[in-house]
Structure formats: structure tokens, C-alpha cells
Amino acid sequence: MATILIPTPLRKFTGNAAQLNVDAANIGDAVKAVTEKYPDVKKHLLDENGQIRSFINIFVGEDDIRDLQQEQTSLHAYTEVSIIPAIAGGI
């Protein structure tokens, strides 16, 4: 089971769950599992065409999936998947 780490801005859509264990073969399946369990997260993670939004970065371990096989990036047991949205606050 891979562990998906939910960033704080999205936790209000996951009933405050900070992580979620999913049985998924790759990132695409893992994202699907998250959005099926928490439908309100969907519009924040995916655009109208079902693609991961460009201001949401997903890392497997410490690597960006854009440097791996995108949604096809495979997951193993104990893999940590981090969802890191762009934030811009400073003042």
C-alpha cells in the first residue's frame, strides 16, 4: 500500500485526513482512489480534462512525477506520494 500525503490546504476536503493508504499500481490509479474516496478534492487536483493541474506537483519519494513516468509512474508498498500545490503567501 502506498501512502498519499495530503497537503494542509486540501485536508478540508478529506475530513482532515493527512494521509491515505491506497492500493494502487501507479500514480494515475492512486489519484483516482483519492478522488473517489473524497470527491470534493477532485476539482482541486484535476482540470476539466481529468489531467493533474499544472500548479499541483506530485512527488514519489523525492522525485517529481514529471521527471519519472507522469501518471504511469509505478508505486510500491511503502512508497510515499506527496501532493505539493503552489502557494504564494508571504505577507
Partner: protein
């Protein structure tokens, strides 16, 4: 040249705890003194960045900020105190920093950073530290830094989360590192990611993250250690977890050669259907003349708790679902904090339910308090 000659006796005493670190030494201190750092924004992040860089002895500090000190700043902007409320931030910051370290030079730029002035401002500095609070300025700072080849020490915060990185940094003898566009190629559409003014931020968080930003500025200047170039540091204050991710250069990222219109790039210029408005003074007239109308407040319950003017609370997210509670037969005034969310609510009700009896309170509850009931609290 005698290395000690650039420092006075007082400076040597002040910087002693730096100079005695073997990896830092007189050489590191000298590099700090010769460095020119431009800090964009003197708020939550800018406060610790400026305080620590001034204390550390960065020779020239530039501050860009067009804002004035407000009492809602003091929960986190530790550069300022009650006495500075109402003063331009750059002026108050300069006074505070000069009192902290009289041996450095502070340049103030009381302007809003724009595509028209960014290159001229950046040109005079060696390192840029970005502590702004919106996406258009983030991309502007990035692009101007890339065009001029300046390292951009980046930090940002939201509620309980912080991020730090070093963009566009070329280490001695090395290759230029990735920039912000290689981490986030495009900004979120407007409205999907709230700002700190809307979403809030825990006051101590910019203190933690801004201190790390100051650390990275010092490392970039002195060349000690390994900077966060090519890496993104993230901090989750609620769980007290930190992670460091890799950022790679992306050859597919279009070359940045000129500055653009960043408001438009971030989708903030899309023309929106105007909504019918009512001013605070007109609303007051309706109230005292006994005009029949319903007042709807589309803010969040915690905002309502701080202050309200007797409107029925229906938060923006539930407006469509609770449309049945909004009168159809009499005039309805909709308000939020400043007028943005209530305009959205009105557009939604007009589009979905064909309502035509809705008025947006111009300037929101803040305008009403200012003009009609100044004794009420603001936030």
C-alpha cells in the same frame, strides 16, 4: 590588502561570532558586507529576512514595498510595532534596521513591483529575496531574476505550510539551477488558491520560513554549504514534518527573455459580468427609511463571529444549495468582507436561478463599518 581593513573595530566586535566559525571566517563576513540584497515585501517573510540579514551585516539591503503598516500586520510582521501603524512599511523598516545595525546601508523603494520597474530595480543588486504574497508577483520576480541572471531566494507560506528554495542560482564554476517556472510552469486559476489575506496564516510560520530564507541568502552570498538550488524544502507546521524534493531543469520550459503582463498571465484580467451595486451609504439609507430588503452575508462563520451587521449567514460555497432561503420577492443585498465573494455569489444566483433582485454591497462589510458604524471591529 589587509582583509581586516574594511571593518571598523566596532564591526569586528559585532561580527565576532561569525568570524570565529572556521568555515565562515573573515572572508564570509567580508562577502556579506560587499553584498547587495533586494528584499521584495517587508511583511511576514520580509520581516525576519530583513532583521537577520541586517543583523548579520549584509552591506546593502534594498526593500520594495508600497504598503503601510496596519494593525492586522502585527500578529506576524515583527519588524513593526504599534507606534508604526499608518507609516509606510519601507520607512518604518529602515528605522528599525538602522537601529539594529548602523554599519549597513538601507535603500528603500516605496513602489509596487511591476514589469515596468522590476529590471531597473533588480539590476543594482546581487541577490533577490522574494517575500511577496501573490502569484503574478512571484512569476514577475522569477522572470526578472532569470533575465538578469540573479539568484532568487524563494519562500512562500499559506496557513500552516511553508516552502523554501533557491532559483536561478549559478554556483561558482557550475551550471545555472532551475527557476520557479520549472517547479510550477503555470499559476493556479484565480479563486482556486486563496491568499493569506483570505485564507489566513499562523503568525509564527513566516518567522520560521523567513529565517530559513535568510539562511539561504547568506549561503548564496558566502558560498558556504549546499544551497537549496535544485531542491524544494517544504514544512508542515501542523504535523511538524519537513520534506525536501528534487527540482530538475526542464528543457521544455520556454526561454524567458522579456517580462509580460503578469495579471493577465495569472488570469486576473478576464472580464467578468458586472453586478448591480449598492454603496454603504445607500444601504444605510434603506435601513433608516424602512425600505424592505433582505441582507445576506456570504462570509465564513468565523468571520461572522468577529463582526456582522445582522445579515443572514450563507457562506459562498453553500449559496446555490441554500438559494431557497434567499428572498425572491423583495430586494436582496449580498455582502462579504470586501465585495469579491458577494459578487461571485450574485453571478452564481443570476446564472443558475435567473435572479434579478440582487445588489452587491460595494466594498463589503469593511466599507459599511468605515462609513456607517466605525465603532465596530474590523479584521
Amino acid at each position: 590588502m589587509n582583509q581586516q581593513s574594511i571593518f571598523s573595530k566596532e564591526e569586528l566586535a559585532r561580527y565576532n561570532r561569525h568570524i570565529i566559525i572556521p568555515e565562515f571566517g573573515m572572508e564570509g563576513q567580508q562577502k556579506l558586507k560587499q553584498a547587495k540584497v533586494l528584499v521584495i515585501g517587508s511583511g511576514g517573510l520580509g520581516s525576519p529576512v530583513l532583521l537577520y540579514l541586517a543583523a548579520a551585516g549584509v552591506g546593502t539591503l534594498g526593500i520594495v514595498d508600497f504598503d503601510r503598516v496596519d494593525d492586522s500586520n502585527l500578529q506576524r510582521q515583527v519588524l513593526f510595532g504599534v507606534n508604526e501603524i499608518g507609516q509606510p512599511k519601507v520607512v518604518a523598516a529602515k528605522q528599525r534596521l538602522e537601529a539594529l545595525n548602523p554599519f549597513i546601508k538601507i535603500n528603500i523603494h516605496e513602489v509596487q513591483l511591476t514589469s515596468a520597474n522590476a529590471l531597473d530595480l533588480f539590476r543594482n543588486y546581487d541577490v533577490i529575496a522574494d517575500g511577496t504574497d501573490n502569484f503574478p508577483t512571484r512569476y514577475l520576480v522569477n522572470d526578472a531574476s532569470v533575465i538578469l541572471g540573479k539568484p532568487n531566494v524563494y519562500a512562500s507560506i499559506f496557513q500552516f505550510d511553508g516552502q523554501v528554495s533557491v532559483f536561478n542560482y549559478t554556483p561558482p564554476g557550475g551550471e545555472r539551477g532551475p527557476n520557479y517556472r520549472e517547479l510550477y510552469p503555470t499559476p493556479p486559476p484565480p479563486g482556486l488558491v486563496p491568499s493569506c489575506a483570505e485564507g489566513g496564516v499562523l503568525g509564527v510560520l513566516p518567522g520560521i520560513i523567513g529565517s530559513m530564507q535568510a539562511l539561504e541568502v547568506i549561503k548564496v552570498i558566502t558560498g558556504i554549504g549546499e544551497t537549496l538550488s535544485g531542491r524544494l524544502y517544504t514544512f508542515d507546521a501542523l504535523r511538524f514534518t519537513s520534506r525536501v524534493f528534487k527540482i530538475r531543469k526542464n528543457p521544455a520550459t520556454p526561454a524567458i527573455t522579456t517580462l509580460t503582463d503578469y495579471e493577465q498571465f495569472c488570469g486576473l484580467k478576464t472580464p467578468e459580468q458586472p453586478v448591480r451595486e449598492i454603496t454603504a451609504a445607500e444601504l444605510y439609507q434603506w435601513q433608516v427609511s424602512g425600505e424592505k430588503f433582505q441582507l445576506i452575508d456570504v462570509r465564513e462563520p468565523h468571520e461572522y463571529e468577529i463582526v456582522n451587521i445582522g445579515g443572514k449567514l450563507i457562506p459562498l460555497a453553500s449559496v446555490a444549495e441554500r438559494a431557497g432561503e434567499i428572498d425572491q420577492d423583495i430586494k436582496v443585498v449580498v455582502h462579504c468582507k470586501m465585495g469579491g465573494r458577494s459578487a461571485k455569489a450574485i453571478r452564481e444566483l443570476e446564472t443558475i436561478f435567473g435572479r434579478n433582485n440582487l445588489y452587491n454591497l460595494k466594498g463589503g462589510i469593511l466599507a459599511y463599518i468605515k462609513e456607517v458604524e466605525p465603532a465596530l471591529p474590523t479584521y
